[in-house]
Amino acid sequence: MKRHLTIEEFSRPSEQLARVDIEDLIPLPPPYDGYKEPEWTRLKDEKRASCECSLDDTVLLSLPKPKSLREERELADKFVAGLQKLFTKENNWTFLQPLVLSMEHCAKCQTCSDACHVFLESGGNDVYRPTYRAEILRRLYYRHVREGGLLSGLTHGRVGMTWTTVARLIELAYRCNLCRRCAQTCPIGVDNALIAREIRKLCSQELGIAPKELHEKGTMLQLSVGSTTGMNSLVVKDNMDFIDEDMSEKTGVKLQSKWDVEGADVLLIHNAGEILAWPENPGAFALILEAAGISWTLSSELAAYDGVNYGLFYDDAQFARIALLHAQAAKKLGVKKIVAGECGHEHKALMVIADRVLTGDLNIPRESSFVLLEEIVNSGKLKLDPSRNNFPVTLHDPCNVVRLMGIVEPQRRILRKIAPQFREMEPHGVDNYCCGGGSGFAIMSGNNFAEWRMKVSGRRKFRQILEAFRDEPDPAQPKYVCAPCSNCKGQIRDLFAHYGAKEKVGLHYGGLVELIVNAMTDVKPGFMDFDAG
């Protein structure tokens, strides 16, 4: 059973600070009303003995346990050094102002907790309150950065500065999707998601601690090979060739992707994961752009064929390095604008965050593909037959594009035009809930982390999807969740697999361009094949 946590006990070693019992989870709507989640796969004893996993039922970072008290002390000291750097303008001009504002003004009213899907779906487990990790950092800040001395304990509360605190806090920073729904409801304007990101950042930039999926196999791989997927430019071109061929066969429309066209109007950058995992998406993009007569190109420059920028989730230096490569590729080709494919964090990284990183001739206009697609759909250049999409469709709002960028309507206006049975989830738009895979979780599954992603962080989205299709209980009727974001798609795929939702409810998922192509009368009918895998 869950119990109330205090802030102070966070620093006290124990085997496991918090646990989510299966009974605590909120029951799902039909047909999952009688469904019981499987029990947690317990972390192996050898794992518990060798790694820091005393936060909750799962573990992401697998930090090796320090060998001695001295080593523990050194690491804790290093954390404090990083904490101090986080509050200097030289080291953190990028986020200092919002950070200080959020550190100093929380009224601890807990309004934000009820906005957080992780907290709610865990059955209200204190450890997942948006405020819990923030309050720990706040107390450390007043004690060790503002040097409040003993008085800070009275005025701001205490928490011990031990290795246990550090190890748990890093781990806890990775139990938040950075969706910022909590920040939206805070009456004061405090941003607990930012605080989670700053904790991640301090650990990455000072201690070199970050999930390997984001750092070693993420940004580092992208900076050296060119893509987080490990594809170099030869492989990616080869794969796109294959996609062209495959698409041509499937649609009856001869297709040839464009590479490195100098002076093209549009440089389209996909999340490269699409090419490997959802090839119909880049294929559909190419088909639409060609049919609409857009002057466009892909780039085979290092990192420029992968719009991913995981730096957004954990590290400003890595962020800037990748953003720079994207801009340089566009500059080299002399394109008029960069267009972000169906990837939420690519949108946010490239269009919003990089805006105050790119200066001079690297500041090339950047646009959302949703907007370009709306223009194309409205232009009448594609012959569309909405009746080809005559099945129930709902739309998932990727947090990065919607709540964090205000791109709300273009994708909906497209759907209203081409999907006769389009219906909204509740809530939607800027009030949406995260898919539960946000901030990179969708690509993390080591140990039993995937279970946490299904049982806790993804549960609200699955609930919303079920509710949206409640009027269509027949599993023989295919239903489509349009999720125009690679990361969200990965999470939704895993959710559907976990719940057997394809068989039990008839749920399918995919992007936006696939629906457009499916409605094109120039394309062989049945582009969207619900029977295939």
């Binding site: 030289e90 102002q97 405090v190 941003d191 105050r356 646009e367 959302s368 709540r403 205000g406």
Partner: protein, 307 residues
């Protein structure tokens, strides 16, 4: 003595507010981190942004000050966000905050009345027109302010003590702060009911204060205590998280709604360029700033993979 104390408190209040504003306002421009709906946007109704337009950089932006006001006024006066997202808290928080607003109005009425009195305006239950109006306005606002502030703070304190979650997150100062407001309300009410039911004494005091008659006799007893306490509270507020009454402006305008676009050759770009020259001290293997590298150096180098 009491006069000096009040002036002193006022100065402390102003100094701390200015210091805090200056500290926040002079921090570097940060990366964009807006959160929709952004109130000055054309489509703020549903949270839309300028990014929804094709070639948005070519379009003239229409931002609306009115839109910001439409959000800010109900937020400040009625605490709309709390009302919407945390109703049970609102029943306690709203009276408290509204009581504080009335408190400010009460002080303004007292000062205004004091100044008027200095100019010979007679104020009281049997005074003509404006004097009568000031008398009743002060009286109604004064009691309402003390009552609401005290009840609201009491409600908040009880909740903080009884709700295990709120308790877990509270530091000693959080209880202390609420107690201070309750005590002020109690002292104020006792003072008014026992010896200053028409606030005549308080008004005479604000008159001397406003006209700097430091040798005028200062009130003692409950009224004196009330004045001293109120001044101390005033000086204390900006040093705590309660400074949100003015820092909230930054939270909205410098963060949530800060969607200023960086354009080539703009002053914003100038600031960014200079900040990109800051030296970096992060020491993880992929950065190794050591206060030698600038942000530009870091961003343009290829990190060494882990050995």
């Amino acid at each position: 003595m009491l006069y000096r104390f009040v002036y002193g408190a006022l100065i402390v209040f102003l100094v701390v507010v200015i210091e805090r504003v200056a500290r926040l306002a002079t921090l570097p421009v940060h990366l964009r981190w807006e959160l929709y709906p952004v109130a000055h946007e054309e489509n703020a109704r549903y949270g839309g942004s300028f990014f929804e337009h094709l070639d948005w950089w070519k379009r003239k932006r229409n931002t609306s000050m009115l839109g910001e006001l439409k959000v800010m006024v109900p937020e400040i006066v009625l605490l709309k966000a709390v009302h919407e997202h945390n109703r049970s808290l609102w029943y306690r928080s709203f009276p408290f905050h509204f009581g504080l607003y009335l408190m400010a109005l009460f002080v303004a009425l007292l000062v205004g009345g004091g100044v008027a009195q200095a100019f010979g305006v007679e104020i009281g239950a049997s005074a003509p027109s404006i004097g009568l109006a000031l008398h009743w306005a002060t009286k109604v606002v004064g009691f309402a302010a003390l009552g609401l502030m005290g009840l609201g703070a009491l409600g908040l304190l009880v909740r903080r003590l009884t709700d295990p979650t709120l308790r877990a997150f509270s530091a000693t100062a959080d209880y202390f702060n609420l107690l201070v407001f309750i005590a002020l309300a109690v002292v104020g009410l006792v003072a008014s009911i026992t010896s200053d039911v028409d606030f005549v004494e308080l008004r005479r005091f604000t008159q001397s204060l406003a006209t700097v008659h430091l040798d005028a006799p200062a009130p003692g007893g409950w009224v004196g205590a009330e004045i001293a306490m109120a001044s101390a509270v005033l000086a204390y507020i900006p040093a705590t998280h309660m400074s949100h009454f003015f820092t909230k402006w930054f939270m909205y305008h410098s963060v949530r709604w800060d969607d200023r676009v960086n354009t080539v050759g703009s002053p914003l770009e100038g600031r960014i360029v200079s900040q990109l020259g800051y030296k970096v001290d992060w020491s993880a293997a992929h950065i190794q700033g050591g206060n030698r590298k600038s942000w530009v150096d870091v961003a343009t180098e290829k990190p060494e993979p882990k050995p």
